[in-house]
């Protein structure tokens, strides 16, 4: 099967058609955990420098889809993928693809903050060091820059050598975002990044996502529909491993095309 990828795509934004560069394109994507199929023929184009939210009930495949974009599913035994995913027109599942380079381009923030039990500095410097940066001054600069971008610098600048696990939950999650930014990714995947945080910490993360949009393409999985509405420009609704609807966030929440979407966003089920 020859799968063609769009060079540009147009989608409505607040009722007007806007042309975007497609950053991530998935075509006829199916995914299997052993014999269990988790994703069915997903076709989704994610626009550059926008926040795209993936919503849907538990087990609908949104996290699985997210993890196919940086090939984190590769770490699980017995998984299999069909179809094609490109980032900037490069097939990321082609034989010989360097997963290390891919993951450097596609950063990830996890549901539960997972700082290394090392100092704040060492957490941020971990990625850059792995990618070969040894110069102390460069590392210090990178650490400061990343923490500033993640809005954490002012809170921790005097205690960079404190163990990261001594930070609060919200600070730990922003640290994880800073850590992902330190390797200079183009895409940021976020798997329910605020689900374990209190409302104030959540608000900070959401503000941060909005600030980061101009520099990064962000894909965020969330259970919280208000959150999707607040932070994203585009939303994809998944159900039972299928992509039901993808649209401008406002439109998807107010005038969904599909009955299933409407039932879900109005809270009739899920």
């Amino acid at each position: 099967m020859v799968i063609t990828m769009p060079a540009a795509f147009t989608i409505e934004r607040h009722g007007d058609p806007v042309e975007f560069k497609p950053k991530v394109v998935a075509r006829h994507l199916s995914f299997y955990y052993g014999a269990v199929q988790a994703l069915f023929d997903i076709n989704l184009t994610i626009p550059e420098n926008q926040v795209t939210a993936l919503i849907g009930p538990s087990g609908c495949g949104k996290s699985t889809f997210l993890r196919t974009l940086n090939r984190m599913n590769d770490t699980i035994d017995g998984t299999r993928l069909e179809g094609k995913i490109t980032i900037d027109n490069q097939d990321i599942y082609k034989n010989g693809t360097d997963v290390v380079t891919l993951r450097k381009r596609v950063g990830m923030v996890f549901q539960k903050s997972n700082p290394f039990p090392k100092s704040i500095f060492e957490n941020i410097a971990y990625g850059p060091k792995i990618h070969g940066i040894r110069n102390k001054a460069v590392l210090e600069e990178l650490v400061e820059q990343s923490l500033k971008r993640a809005g954490l610098w002012e809170e921790v600048k005097d205690r960079l050598h404190l163990n990261a696990l001594d930070l609060s939950g919200g600070q730990q999650q922003r640290l994880c975002i800073a850590r992902a930014l330190a390797v200079d990714p183009e895409i940021l995947l976020m798997d329910e990044p605020a689900s374990a945080l209190d409302p104030r910490a959540t608000a900070r993360i959401e503000d941060l996502i909005s600030e980061l949009r101009s520099d990064y393409t962000i894909v965020i999985v969330t259970h919280n529909m208000q959150q999707a509405a607040r932070v994203s420009q585009y939303t994809a609704f998944f159900m039972e491993g299928r992509l039901v609807e993808f649209d401008d966030t406002e439109k998807l929440f107010t005038k969904p095309k599909e009955k299933q979407t409407e039932d879900y966003v109005t809270g009739r089920f899920g």
């Binding site: 770490t75 993951r103 996890f110 997972n114 792995i130 390797v183």
Partner: protein, 280 residues
């Protein structure tokens, strides 16, 4: 009725526990009481004279053997554990390997002794030597080291591996920087506990290294040495004049006990130290 059976069950369990503790306590007490009079500086630092005299060569020999076993078994065991937990595809083959390792842990020590005699002493031609003895002990503790190392590796949260991989680290970089630093204390603890047991074993060294009496210290790994457990066996069984040999035997037993106890205490202190440090 139920409260009566409840109370009697509690009583029975408590008594059994006390019995176990008392048995251990009695053995230790007996050895300490009968051995303490013999153990002094010259006992620890001089050569044996027949059934009397010191046990210096046996202490040195045991330390050499334990050290040798650690040097050989620790890297091998840790490497196997890393392969099994981090790399090997979990399936029937890996489970068979695990079963084999657990079975190996249950093999009687005299069998390890015979194996060492056949392989290291005769086939490889190392002779009865420190080398053969250490390698035999290493084989014996290998299963313990692998099993406890696997446990230590699995105790490191998956989230840390994910965090590292997602930053573009390779699998080996992830293991080296984000798994091993937190697993090594646990690996060491389990391994030392295993080696502590091996330090007291007689059968494996009986056939591969231990000397009946050897007043001088070894000059190379191809030399024989005396060892505490075997020396104890010799003192207890090979001297007709037990009035003379018995106190030396108790002294030797006390030193061996303290050595193993020291190793275990060290391992436990190490573990609690690192447990406090690594909280997640």
């Amino acid at each position: 009725m139920s409260s009566l059976s409840e109370r009697s069950a509690l009583l029975a369990l408590r008594l059994i526990t006390y019995l176990v503790v008392c048995t251990v306590g009695f053995i230790v007490f007996d050895i300490v009481i009968k051995g303490i009079g013999v153990v002094n500086w010259s006992f620890l630092t001089t050569n044996p004279q027949g059934a009397a005299g010191g046990i210096f060569p046996a202490i040195v020999g045991t330390l050499y053997l334990v050290f040798g076993a650690i040097v050989v078994a620790l890297p091998l065991g840790m490497a196997s554990a890393i392969y099994l937990t981090e790399y090997a595809k979990q399936g029937r083959l890996t489970n068979t390997i695990r079963l084999a390792i657990v079975t190996l842990a249950g093999v009687p020590s005299i069998v390890f002794g015979l194996f060492g005699l056949g392989l290291f002493v005769l086939f490889f031609g190392f002779g009865t030597s420190i080398l053969s003895g250490s390698l035999t002990l290493a084989c014996m503790v290998l299963p313990t080291i692998i099993v406890s190392s696997e446990e230590a590796l699995r105790a490191v949260p998956l989230a840390l591996r994910d965090a590292s991989l997602a930053l573009g680290a390779t699998k080996w970089e992830t293991i080296r920087k984000s798994v091993l630093p937190y697993a090594i204390p646990g690996m060491m603890t389990g391994s030392i506990l295993g080696i502590g047991r091996a330090a007291g074993e007689t059968a494996p060294i009986l056939l591969t290294v231990a000397a009946f009496s050897l007043p001088q210290l070894p000059r190379s790994v191809y030399d024989q040495v005396m060892a505490l457990p075997y020396h104890l066996y010799v003192l207890a069984t090979q001297f007709p004049n037990q009035d003379e040999a018995r106190p030396t035997a108790y002294g030797t037993a006390l030193v061996l006990l303290l050595l193993v106890l020291g190793l275990n205490t060290g391992a436990i202190v190490l573990r609690s130290h690192f447990r406090r440090r690594n909280k997640w």
